[in-house]
Symmetry: C2
Subunit: 148 residues, 2 copies
DNA sequence: CTTCTTTAGTTCGATGTCTTACTATTTAGT
DNA sequence: ACTAAATAGTAAGACATCGAACTAAAGAAG
């Protein structure tokens, strides 16, 4: 885009391209077709604890419940999670990691950490400096309803 | 994600969320179902000139040719572009904007500029400062090519 | 307790994107 | 010139995502 763009416009443009490149880079590196959203859910369950409901996960990732249903069905089909009924609320389910799911997450984390570490060294990326401003932008987009 | 994440990992995570929020924000604001990739192509043709080939557009957006074929077919069906055979290369086509396509792009630009401008004012976004480092990150990720 | 509303999750159809495979045309190598 | 490799575009199949419509269950109002 040109220098005449409002800076925020150009920024979001750049962000879109980076997201696409990063997602492709991750997914092409997986030997078994693990998708980024699959990894994201596994990672979330390891870090923040499993036993969450699908709805909680959908809200955490800002995805619709329908999308999370799809992701969880695929993770379950791969044997990476179990879905159990919630004893206290018959409408709800609870998502639990299997040992295979934990192991697959560790594998993906290890690879990704190595890849990103190498990338950050080859190029002079100042990720620390960008993190705070991007979080501010995310927050702004997140709670600022659209006008009109 | 937690503070134990490598900064680049957390950064890409944040970027993924922002991309999703920004795309949804744009698309929900369109009255006619115009998608972000459609707008991106119209905008590109206005700014850099039409008469490009589908392959050139695919490379410009780092998408596969198949994806660009799909986008162009939808833009043509909406009457926003015309596809003409290339006189010098019988394999190729050339993409031209229609008056309707130009008008629709102007409409979307006006809305988006206003929306982003308002957003940038309400929140304290330093888009200028982030642009250069993000471009460096994009360039670093970009070394991986081989597309259709 | 009965009814209305809200919440949890699924299903369905549409769209964007990718990979793989294909056709047609151009270019390069010999 | 002939043939092989590269390039332009398309088609088919897979998957992620969304919105709308649906079912089931819990909560609120009376």
């Amino acid at each position: 885009m040109s220098t005449q763009d409002p800076a925020l416009f150009a920024l979001l443009n750049e962000i879109g391209i980076i997201e696409q490149l990063a997602r492709n880079r991750f997914e092409r590196a997986q030997p078994d077709g693990l998708r980024l959203p699959h990894f994201a859910v596994l990672n979330h369950l390891v870090r923040l604890g499993d036993g969450k409901t699908p709805g909680q996960l959908a809200r955490a990732f800002q995805l619709t419940k329908a999308t999370m249903t799809n992701t969880l069905q695929r993770l379950e089909a791969r044997g990476f999670i179990r879905l159990e009924p919630d004893a206290e609320d018959a409408r709800a389910k609870r998502v639990f990691l299997t040992p295979e799911g934990r192991a697959r997450r560790e594998e993906a984390v290890a690879f990704t950490a190595a890849d990103l570490s190498a990338l950050a060294q080859r190029a002079d990326i100042h990720a620390d400096a960008m993190l705070a401003p991007l979080r501010a932008l995310r927050t702004a987009l997140d709670r600022d309803p659209r006008r009109g």
